[in-house]
Each structure stands twice: as C-alpha cells, then as structure tokens.
C-alpha cells in the first residue's frame, strides 16, 4: 500500500457535527456531519449510508419534494448535490460558485431551490437567493442562474423559514422579522425593540412557519416564543407571546399538521405547545444536553432533535423517547484525557456533565455512560458544578478510579472514588469514596499495572498540587457484617522538598514509581517506598513522564516545558539522550516499545514516534492538524495489522487516537483516500446514453471496467473484488420480470468474474490479495456493505452452480476463502 499516513476524522465537534437533520417519510434520518451526509435508519438507529463527495463542510440537506428518495445537499464548497440517498448514489452536482450556507427545497418550486449565499463584496452580509437547477443532461451542471429573494438575512439556516405552500418566506435577523410574499411581491418588515422594560432580550434566534395557516413562530434570546399572525398587514399584525424557556430558544418546529409547536433550548427539554396557547404544553425533559435542531418527519410520526453534545434523539410524536443515536458525546470540557478501558477497548472520557462515556471506536457508538458525580446538573451560567477531572483503570479493568472536583473560590471540593467492576450487573459499582484526598488539585493518578491476580498487589498513586503524592491500597475488612469486604485507604504519603507533584507513573513491572516534582523526577521503590534516585534537566518543569516498555524498560522519558525531551537510563542513572522538542503529550504504546510524542509549535501539531533506546525517531508526521492536540491514546488492535512500510510498524499492534482542542477525534490510517470511498459513490460511472436502471448500471460497470487497463495491479484486483459483488447484488435484487433472459446474463456474469489476461504473475498478486482481504475483514465494521456483498457473492455462486470453468489463481484464492467462511448462518433460515 502506497501513500503516507492519512489523518482521519472520526467524531465531531459542533463545527464538524450536524448542521441540520431531516427525517424522510421512509424513516431515514439524514444528517450532515462534516463533509458528509449520514443516512441513519430511524427504526434501527444504524448508519445506512454515508454520502461522501462534498469538498467542504456540508451546511444543509433538503429532501427533494418531487422525489422522496432523493435529497439535495449544499456545502461550503459551492455546490449543490442531488443524491439518491437510499442507494447512496450521487446523481448530479450543481456548481453555484458561492459558499452555500443553507438550503431549502420547496414543494411549490418545480426546478429551483433556495440557498443562502454571502453577498459579493460585503463581509458578513448574506442573501437568500433562488437557484434554478437546470435539467440538462450531465452529472456536473453549472447553476449560475439565480435571483435574489431577500437581502440581509442571517447566515444560520434556522433564521429563515418558508411558509404555507411556499407563499411567503420569513427571515429574522437581530431585532427584525421580514416576510416576503412571493405572489404579491410584497415585503413586510417588523421590528422589536432591543430590550423590553423588564430586561428581556428581544433578539430573534430562530423562526418557523405554520404548515397550514398564516402563522410565524419566532424564538428569542430571552426564551420567549412569539406567534405572529395577520402579518400581511403592515399595521394590524398581531403576535402572542409564550414563555417557558429561561434562556435562548435554539430551534422551533411545527408539527406536520401545525397543531403543535416544538421548541428546544439549553434546558435540554423538548417543549410541545398546543394550539398556540401558553397554558397547554407538554414536556420531554432530560434529553441530556441543549437542543440545537428540531426536525419533524414528513409523515409526522417522528421528531428528531440534534443536541450540542453531538447526539441525535428520535422521539415519537406522542413525545415518548424512542431512540438515541450517539457517537462521541461532546463534553463541555474534556479533562480526563483519553483513557482506554482494558475490558472493552473503548475510549473513556468526559461525556455528559458528571458522566464518563465509554465510546466504542469500532461501531462509532457510545457503549454506555457511567454517572460518576451523581448529582443533577443545573443549567445555569456562572454556576460552578462538580466536574470529573481524572480517570484511571487498573490493568484488567477491574477497578476504576475517578477524581471529581468543584471549585468555589476559595474552597475546593475534591472526591476520589473507586469503582469495582461487578460481573453480575456488568457495570461499575462504587466501592470507596474519599473526600478531600489532597488539599489541592490532583494532577495525576495511576494504578500499578500488574497482573492483578491478587488485589493486594493493587496500588493507586495520586499526585497533588499540595506537594504530596499518596499511595492507596486495598484493605480487607475483617468485620463479617460489613457490606463489602474491600475498601481503599491511604498507605503512604510522600513528598520531595515541598515541590508540587505534577506527574506519576509506574514502570512496566511495577517495581518503580516515578513522580515528578516540578523540575525534578523522583524514582521510588514501590515495595519499600524509598527514594531511589532523582533526575533533573533544568531549566523547565517536567510536563510529562513515562517509562519505556519491553526491551526499553530501563529508560525513563520526560518532557519539560522548556522544550526538551529527555531519556534517562535507570541503570546508570544518567541522561541517555535529549532532544530539543516542545512536547505536549507523551504517550507510550502499551504493546510495544514505541512512544509517541506530540509537539506543538507555531500553530501546528507534529507527531514523533521513537523508541527510547535510539534517539532517532522512527516516524515523523508534521502538521497533523491546525488545532492543538489535547490528548492522545494508543488503542490495542484486536488483530495486528499488516503494515507495509517499516516506518509505520508502530501502528501494527495499536492504533493512535488524538483529541484536539475542538474535540475532534482523529486517528491515522495507512490507506489512501480513494480506497476509503465507498463503492457506491463510484457507481455513477454510467455512460450518459444509458438510462439509469439497475441493469444498465450493471452493463455500464462492465464496460467501464474493460476500458480501464493500465491501473496498477493491486488496485485492479481490489476493484474487481469490490465491484463485481454489487453487480451480482443488482442482478439478484432486480425483479425477475424485468430481467433479460438468463442466457444473455450468464456470459456477462461470468465475464465479470474473470480477470483480463495482461495480469502479472499470480503468486504475488495472491499474496497481496490475502493481505488486502484480511484488512477488509478487519475493517468490516466500517465497510459493512462490502462484507455483505461478499456473502451475497457466495450465495450467487451456489445458485448458479457449475461455473467453475476456468478460474485464475486469484479467483481460486477467492474461492478458497469463500469455502472457509462460516455458513452456519444459513441453517438459521
């Protein structure tokens, strides 16, 4: 595999997160996510399709009102794309040439959509324009014909809404509401005063239009909702006010018949207002975090809310919670860092306020959320809440230690909690709670990573700003009436010249403990708690320390905040080497000797991977991203990956994940970007003359295949392997009465399985394929449809019987693999 490392974005901060979501009648949930559009099934909450193709942030999606299986998406890259979202096919791309900030597709407009674009020549001025989507043939169409509808609109898609049957459009900005009537070509403007006498803030935040009546609902910064009626009169317009939210109304949406209005805000409560009255309302509370967007499915049976913490909630129309789609929950502030749960291999970090989230990387889902603080979160500005700051797992994941703190000047509240994994309930149970374990902030915490067969050997060390480090051990309670026999207590308190303890870590065998005290690293014997030796590399305080592993376990690595990376030899107690590098994160791989160091210099983060025994880095990856990387973690792979280049051998057993300041989770992939594209998005290689039917697609694919000859070998094999399976799928899924005769299809099918003659020696290829397929299997979670197709493929072979005429070696290999696959699932039918 050629190419270098590629940074892959996994989960999102709000900027890359959802910018809108739509529910289709067929119960698909369409959601923008970064440069992609995600299609979820509302029934199973599974990700059905990932629509890739935009070259910039996708800002809006809208169902094609004339074909419910199609959707429009717009992006900052200046294009509108029309997709068949059930199949994930890109049908057309309309190039507008402006940054597109929102998109509205209306029933009443046959061939145009409305988009918000920046006004030429003016900064921060936006206009709503109608773009004519010409019906010309061709995939890439220029859409330059547009007319301005409204000037001076807000860039947010929530601030513009289209009224009943597209008769009018309402848009709010600052303290003004403007309504434009298309038929009468009349523009009415209504203004509110900035503040009212009671100190309310009348700023408009969002707008929604009644689907059946002439009624506009607007949300305001002080939590009020105003219902405007009679707005075709410039003077005799009226509005009524409804007030429940205590802070700004984030989004509003009418139900499909307009009988109720949904509103959401920071309270994380979905409010349903009935018949425009202040007195009748229903609530769905405790939705986790502030509601950003509300969407109603086009058949009215489902609501969907998008939250600031990157979660989607699906709600039945009777206001019952139905499902939640959550990837990486966006915490207000990640303080715990990235920790790997040894039991589930899930990433553990701050989630909801006071909770610890267990995020499964393979399925991009939250496994569960553990309530650590166990206090109701109060949504109020300026209130200091208890926050989770440190997390540590014991080696086998049996024990979990958490630290929570609440800072109320000048007092500090600290709690150290120890949780025991209960096998029966399969969850963590609180074992010991220690109030004020230190007198000041806890800076670091670690378990002694031993094979914990015996609980006795388990040791927890905490280091604090109160210049102490404390050692905690398990005590067995002899009292038979005690509810639990195990509890934790302090065993040893250490300090060094009254310096603040900043870091601590155990050596791999657990015999040594290194604690850094400002500029000095101290090494302690973990059995006697004697100070063995100290290391110092002035000037600069120690920022991070770690021990080397396996063959390099005699080294101790430290990074100082004056930009030095030092490696000390524990045997000689001398500095082995040092390098000038501003390291912010030092992360050892638990399964190999490799240590990853992330540096931050002048607005770019770089990665250096090295072994402690040689001062030369194995791998340097400059300019990982623009943002500062906050945390990193090595997550062990289930199966070691085959890595071609020596440079990337450190990725073999574990994968490195990063979390940036903006809470974007990133990782490395050695695969090139084209390979990661789904098959489906390539399916559109259809000749224009052919009508787009499954069958023509099948034929077109074949022809296309033949035409491409000079592509590098491995790729062809891969393409082949990938592309024939959907062909078979198409074949099987097309209704029998529209299929041509079998005699016509058979040669095509067989041909599609063949590899053209001009291939090189089969041996090499076979090897490559083996590796590739392994990789594919491993990636099966990400590319589910591929594996599915493979199974389909085998089935079709069974059905078609004796087609084993002349097979190339590659195909024999394929077949062998097929034979190996597990067929037990068939017996279930």
């Amino acid at each position: 595999t050629g190419g270098g490392l590629r940074v892959v974005f996994l989960g999102g901060c709000p900027r890359r997160g959802g910018h809108g979501c739509r529910l289709s009648r067929r119960r698909f949930l369409l959601c923008t996510a970064g440069d992609f559009v995600k299609v979820y099934s509302a029934a199973t909450e599974e990700l059905v399709r990932l629509l890739r193709g935009h070259g910039g942030l996708v800002t809006g999606v809208g169902l094609n009102p004339h074909n419910r299986l199609q959707l429009y998406s717009c992006s900052l890259d200046g294009s509108i794309k029309l997709w068949d979202f059930t199949d994930g096919i890109l049908i057309k791309t309309f190039t507008v040439g402006y940054k597109l900030l929102a998109l509205y597709a209306l029933d009443s407009c046959e061939d145009s959509v409305f988009v918000i674009i920046p006004k030429r020549g003016e900064r921060d001025t936006f206009q709503l324009v109608s773009v004519k989507l010409t019906k010309t043939a061709g995939q890439d169409v220029e859409a330059k014909e547009f007319s301005v509808v409204l000037e001076g609109v807000d860039a947010s898609p929530k601030c513009t809404a289209f009224g009943r049957e597209g008769e009018y459009v309402a848009s709010v900005k600052n303290f003004h509401l403007q309504v434009y009537f298309f038929k009468r070509k009349q523009l009415n403007r209504f203004s509110l005063r900035a503040t009212n006498a009671k100190g309310g803030n009348n700023l408009f935040t969002c707008v929604a239009c009644h689907p059946k009546e002439d009624c506009i609902a607007t949300g305001h910064a002080d939590g009020k909702i105003r219902l405007w009626r009679n707005f075709y009169h410039n003077k005799e317009y009226v509005f009524s006010t409804m007030h429940w939210h205590h802070d700004r109304v984030m989004d509003l949406s009418f139900s499909i018949e307009g009988t109720s209005l949904l509103s959401g805000g920071v309270e994380a409560v979905l409010v349903q207002w009935h018949s425009g009255s202040d007195c009748k309302k229903d609530f769905l509370p405790r939705l986790g975090s502030a509601i950003e967007y509300i969407s109603v499915s086009s058949d009215g049976t489902l609501y969907c809310t998008l939250h600031t913490d990157n979660r989607i909630t699906i709600i039945n129309s009777n206001l019952r919670f139905s499902k939640s789609i959550q990837g990486l929950i966006r915490a207000r502030d990640v303080k715990t860092g990235l920790v790997v749960d040894p039991r589930t291999k899930a990433l553990v970090l701050n989630g909801e306020a006071g909770h610890l989230q267990f995020y499964c990387l393979q399925s991009d889902k939250q496994l569960y959320s553990l309530d650590i603080v166990q206090q109701e979160y109060i949504q109020q500005a300026g209130l200091n809440q208890t926050d989770l700051v440190k997390v540590a797992f014991s080696a086998q994941g049996k024990w979990l230690a958490t630290v929570e703190e609440r800072e109320e000047e000048p007092d500090l509240e600290l709690h150290l909690k120890l949780w025991f994994f209960d096998e029966e309930t399969q969850s963590f149970k609180l074992n010991t709670q220690i109030s004020m374990p230190h007198d000041d902030h806890i800076t670091a915490m670690c378990f002694r990573d031993m094979d914990e067969l015996e609980d006795d050997s388990l040791i927890l060390v905490t280091a604090g700003k109160d210049c102490l480090f404390k050692v905690w051990v398990i005590l067995e309670d002899t009292d038979p009436e005690a509810q639990q026999s195990l509890s934790w207590s302090c065993d040893f308190v250490g300090s060094y010249h009254n310096y603040q303890a900043t870091n601590c870590c155990f050596s791999e065998d657990g015999s040594l403990l290194a604690v850094s005290f400002e500029e000095t690293v101290t090494v302690w014997d973990s059995s006697t708690w004697d100070l063995k030796c100290t290391f110092c590399h002035p000037p600069g305080k120690i920022r991070d320390i770690c021990f080397g592993r396996l063959t390099c376990s005699k080294y101790l690595i430290g990074a100082t905040d004056h930009g030095f990376l030092c490696c000390w030899n524990l045997l000689s107690c001398a500095l082995e080497w040092s390098a000038h590098l501003n390291v912010v994160i030092l992360q050892p791989d638990p399964l190999s000797e490799h240590i990853a160091a992330v540096s931050w210099l002048s607005k770019e983060s770089s990665l250096f991977v090295f072994k402690p025994n040689e001062p030369r880095p194995i791998c340097i990856q400059r300019n990982l991203c623009q943002e500062k990387i906050q945390f990193a973690a090595f997550v062990p792979r289930d199966v070691p990956e085959t890595v071609g280049s020596e440079k990337y051998v450190w990725l073999r057993r574990s994968q490195l994940y990063f979390l940036t300041d903006a809470q974007e989770l990133m990782t490395f992939s050695t695969k090139s970007s084209e390979e990661r594209l789904t098959v489906s998005s390539k399916q559109l290689a259809v000749e224009e003359s052919l009508p787009v039917t499954p069958f023509s697609l099948l034929l077109g694919k074949h022809r296309h295949q033949q035409s491409q000859g000079d592509i590098d070998l491995t790729k062809v094999v891969r393409n082949h392997h990938e592309q024939d399976s959907p062909a078979v799928k198409e074949l099987l899924h097309t209704p029998a009465h529209v299929l041509p005769s079998a005699s016509f299809l058979c040669p095509i099918f067989i041909n599609s399985l063949l590899i053209s003659k001009e291939k090189k020696s089969a041996e090499e290829v076979a090897d490559e394929v083996e590796m590739e397929s392994e990789e594919a299997e491993e990636d099966s979670d990400e590319e589910e449809d591929v594996t599915e197709m493979e199974q389909e493929n085998t089935k079709s072979m069974d059905l078609l019987g004796e087609i084993t005429c002349k097979l190339s070696k590659a195909e024999e290999k394929e077949l062998r693999k097929v034979r190996k696959t597990d067929y037990s699932w068939i017996s279930a039918f």
Partner: protein, 740 residues
Amino acid sequence: MGPLEVHRVRFFGLVPAGVRCLAYLPRRRRLALARTDGAVEVYGLEEGCFQEKAIPGHQARSVEALCWAAGERLFGAGLSGDITEYDLQRLRPARTVDGFGGPIWSMVANGGGTRLAIGCEDGSVKLFQVVPGGIQFEKNLDRQKGRVLCLSWHPSGTHIAAGSIDFIRVLDVRSGRTVQRIMVNYHVPKPKKRECVVWGIAFLSDGTVVSSDSFGRVQFWDWERGTLLESHTVSTSAVLSLAVSEKEDSIVVGTSTGATYQLQLLPVKAGSQEKRWVRTKPFQYHTHDVRAVAHSPTALISGGRGAHQAGWGGGVPLPDASSPRSAWLPGLDAQLVIRPLMEKVQRKGYEAVLRKFTFPHRRLVSCARKARLLLFQFSQHLELWRLGSTNETGKDGEVLPVCRMPEHLLQLKSKVGLGRGCGRGLGGLCRPRSAPPRPPQGPEHIYCSCVSPCGGWVAYSTASRFHLYRVQHEGDGVSVKKVPGVPKLLLPAYQLQCASDAGRLFVGSERGSVHVLQLLEPGGCKHLHTLRPPAGTAEAVYLLASSADGNWLAAVSGDWEIHVYSLKHFKHHCTVPTYSCAVTALAIHPATNNLVIAYADQQLFEFSIPEKQYTAWSRTVQNCGLHKAWLERDSPITHIAFNPQNPAHILLHDVYMFCVLDKSLPLPDASTPLLNQSTLKQLPEHARQRQLHAFKICKKFQPLLFAELLEENRLVLVERPLADIRAQLPPPVQQQPFGT
C-alpha cells in the same frame, strides 16, 4: 423666579377606591366608571382624557353594574337590590327602583337602549323598560337557582345569555323561557370538580356565546346546539371580566392576576373566509384583580383593583420611543388604564398613548396660604395639617432638616346622613309603598371642601348637608366650632372657594348657580346673593376662581361655559368664548385680573376679564401653537397658581410634572426639547440665555396632587408616593416566574 423652598408633603394618605365596573358609550366616547366605594365617574375620551363628572359614593350604595341606555342616561345597580339612574347634570343619583330580586349582580341594556335586563341573586332575570323619567318593570324571565352573575343581550334583542355558577343559560326574551342550558365544567373530572363561576359573558351576533370563567378559560359556545366551539385557557387564575368590540372582531378579558389579554378574530390564511379567535396581546398593568374591562374601537380599557408594575407587557413596539411615557413610574391601586390599539390609531397624538389614571382630576387639597395649613379631603373625612418649617437655608437641590414637624391638627368626620337625602324619593315612579325604608348606613361621602386662606374657616359639603366650621388657633392647638344656622338652600354644593380676604365663601351649585356667603366674625354666615348665568343652564358648577382683589369670580359649569361675574355688583360680567373642550383648571391673576384657563386637550388660554377678550399673549400662543411634547402629555393640568413677586409667571401642574410658565420668555419651537432644565444647568451662562424658553418643567415630584405658592418663595407640593399606596393593599397574587 429665584430659588424656591419646597415643602414636600407626603402625609396625605389617600387610597383611591378600586374600579368595580366600566361602561363605554361609543357614540359620545364617554366612559362611565364605578368604584368599589360606590362613586361613579364619567370620563371624556375625545381630546385628552378628563374626568368630567364625578358623583361621590355612599356606603350603602355599592355599584355592581353600570350601563348606558336611552341615549345618554346612565344606570347603575348594586348589591342593595336597587337600580339607580344618575343625574349627570346635577351629579347625584336621580331615581332608585327596587329590583325585587335580592342583590343585583349584573345589568345590561339592549342594543337600542330601550330595555334593561338585570340578573339577581335569586336567579331571576328581570326586564325593565326605559321610559322618560325613569324605568318601568316589564317582566320576569325564567328563573333558575343560582345567582346570575353576568348577562348579555343578543344584538338583535331577541335572546339573553346569562352566566351563573357552573352553567350558562340562553333565554328567549319574548316567551321568557330558558331555551338552552350549557354546563361549563362538564369536562372537568369528577374528583377535581370545583365550582366554576362564569364571570363574564358576551352574545355575538352570529349566535356565539363567549364566556369567561373562574378556571381561567375563555370559551366560545354555539348557543343553539349548546356545543363548545373553542376554548382558550388564558390564565391559571380566574378571568373576571370580558368585553367585545363593536365589530365583534376583538375581545378583551381581565384576570385576577392583574393581566389583561386580547383575543382577536383573525383569518387563518390570507384572503380566506375561515377565521379563528387567537389570543394575542397580554398586558400586565395591574397587580390585583381586573374587575372591569371595556373595548373602545381604538383602545382597551381596564380598571384594576391593584397596582401595576412598570413596563410593557408584550414588548409591543412603541409608536414613539422618545415620548415621555416610555419611562413610567410604578402605578398603584385603583387605576384606570386605557391601552390604545396601535394598529387602529390613524395619527399619533392623544389616542396613541397609553394612559393610566389613578388619582381623581379634582382638587382634594386646599391650602391656607397665610396660616400654612393644608386641608386634605378623604372620601369620608377631612384632615387639617400644619406645615413643618425649617430655620436653615441651603443650596439648590439640598434637603433641609425640618426643625418643626408637620402637625396633624384636626380630623373632621362626615356625619351619618339624614336618612333619605340622596334623592331617593324623587324618582319613586314605580316605587312600591310596601318597601321598607332602608336608612343608609355609615357616613356620607364628601363632595367638596375648602379652608380659608387665613385658616380660620373650614367648609365641606356632602350630598345632603353643608358644614361650616370656625377654627380657632390658640397657640399650637386648635379648637373647632360648628357654625350654626347655615342656609339650607345651597345643596348640593360641588365646589367651594374662599375669597382671599376670607370674608366670603363661594359655593358652586347646580344649574350653573354660585351662592355667595358672607362669613361673619366670630362665627356665623349670611347668604348674600346667588349668581346665575343669564341664559341658564342645567349643568352644575364644577370649578370656581375668584380674583385676589375680590371683584371677580369665574365659574365653570358642566357644559364647559365659563361665566365671569362681578362681585361688586353681583351681576354677570361676561362669558369666555366657548371652546368645546372640558376646562380642567382656571385661575385669575392677582395683578392683572387675567383669567388663565387650561383645557383637557392641553391648550392654555389667557382671557382678560376687564377687556373681555383674550390677551395678546394668548393669541401669540394660539398662533404659534404649543409644543408637541406639551400637547402629548396625557394628564390634565389640575391646578393653576401665580407668583405674586413675578406677574409673568404662571404655575401649572399635573400629576407628573410641575411647570413654571414664564410669559416673558419666547415659546419653544418644535425643534427644541420641551424638557430642558437638566441640560440648561450644564450650559454656560450665555448659552443658557439662548436656550431658555417659556416652559420650565420639573418632574422631580411625582405623583403630584397639589402645588401652591406660599409667601416668601415657598412652594407646597403634595405628593402621594405609589409605594405607600401599595403598602396598604393586600399582597398581589403571587406567580412563579415560570408558572410551573
């Protein structure tokens, strides 16, 4: 005028009575209002809002319902069980008829004003015919148990809707039968079932009955089928009052939390026929019950029993943010609020302004300038106070310590009336003999009062009696002696005024007449003469002004004619040219004998009595026009005084400002701000001279009930702080901020 020493008087403990009911007469744009103490007031809403007529109440005469009928006749009914017709010319109850149904809770007139329907405690609805000179019992409609709290005629006059506890009835007027009976709390689950009181009802011409009830609902019923059409829960507390606009496209309701709401009939879609009632504007002007609402074509009118909180309820865009009303002080008890409907008002000006009335537009304070006494008039008693004094002097704006505290000298209680004084017998057209006479309980309310400038005489009048007291000052104490042998013919007296030399007392009376009494030492009086307008009038005199030299007397009667009499010859001198607007205050200049007149539309005139014509200054004012900000003030000038040291100064005040009008300075033009005192202070001397204009306005003292200049540049200002009134009210209904 040099610096003034101001007596800031805050010990006038007036608490206005709450508003009980309202009746609006669209044709003449008159609003009748009844207070909880039985007083009835009539406001003109045409040009400025001025309390044109006031009939003091009576302990025994509560008014539960008011209505206009047969043109401009005003009827009231109350818990005494009587229907009273008010004589608006002589300002007293004219006739009283017993309804024979126990206490009367509601009364409405039909569209033509020819019939009155009353709803009684015993559950009966009775019809009366309005005939010239009184009303005549017509018939009883079907009686059912349960007091009838509200009534409404169908505009055609064929049916009446009656609201009771738990149900609404529709009665056929011709047959007298109940044709529909609707249970209003049918949908309430059994265990929760409480009494549902229907507080307000309206019968619309399309057959819809609108009801408001104690559950906070406004409901729309189809009367023929008895089905519920729409229900709006507007409040968690009771909806106490309801009024419909004439066009039947807007409803205003008042709730017991002090909020009023407007409901409007709006088209569902543009251009479609389908319309729906939508609750639109909430207003929170009161803190206590809104017992009465009225709907004029351009305004919502609500009368509260409680104080309002500052601010606008709905954040409605103001017509003019720079207008002086945008900064409102907290209001208070018993206020009448007129909230204009901005969209219906064609021009800016008087109509487009939110108005709040708390204090009567009458003079309740009189001042003995020489003796430094203040006489406060309450509804049932008078208080005489001596002003405090100080020895110190200070700079501008400084508060001086009081070395002698103000002193409460005297309290005069109104006596129990003479039984049947209030004209009960006069209208006994259909008064049955068998009815036992019910003597009124409690003291009578005071119509007017005054103290002589020397402080030696105090006079007051109730509906039935006129009282004159001689006050002797002995050192710090006082003694009071009633003057015997007061002439009886004077009654009723509507305005009292002492001549400045304390030799004469002028009594404004009915039919435009003014009686002149000679006050005799040591304690007696003699009727000298009765002055009458030459053409005669039916209206009573409500304002008097006498000149300092004792030669002239000006009297204003209810038809707004100003007659000037010569007191030397006891004869009519002249009539001020008629200006068709209510006179709110007038006074005669002590030096020039110019009569200064303030009208309800905020116009000012100066009329020279000796020359019988408007003065040159007055003509200049009329030619130039007054400043826009002055004309848009919403509270009438209630008192005019002069500065003896500087004849060019006229002192004017209304509730919210005190103004020194300097005739020697140029009038402000439209571009200069009217209120410029604070900016002037910061300007250097020469710039200040250029900026000066005739109106020097001070808004420091609010709400201002009285202002008078004593000798030596001392000014008395009587304030009634709203917080003091609020402290005397029961606590308002508390509501959680989020209502959950």
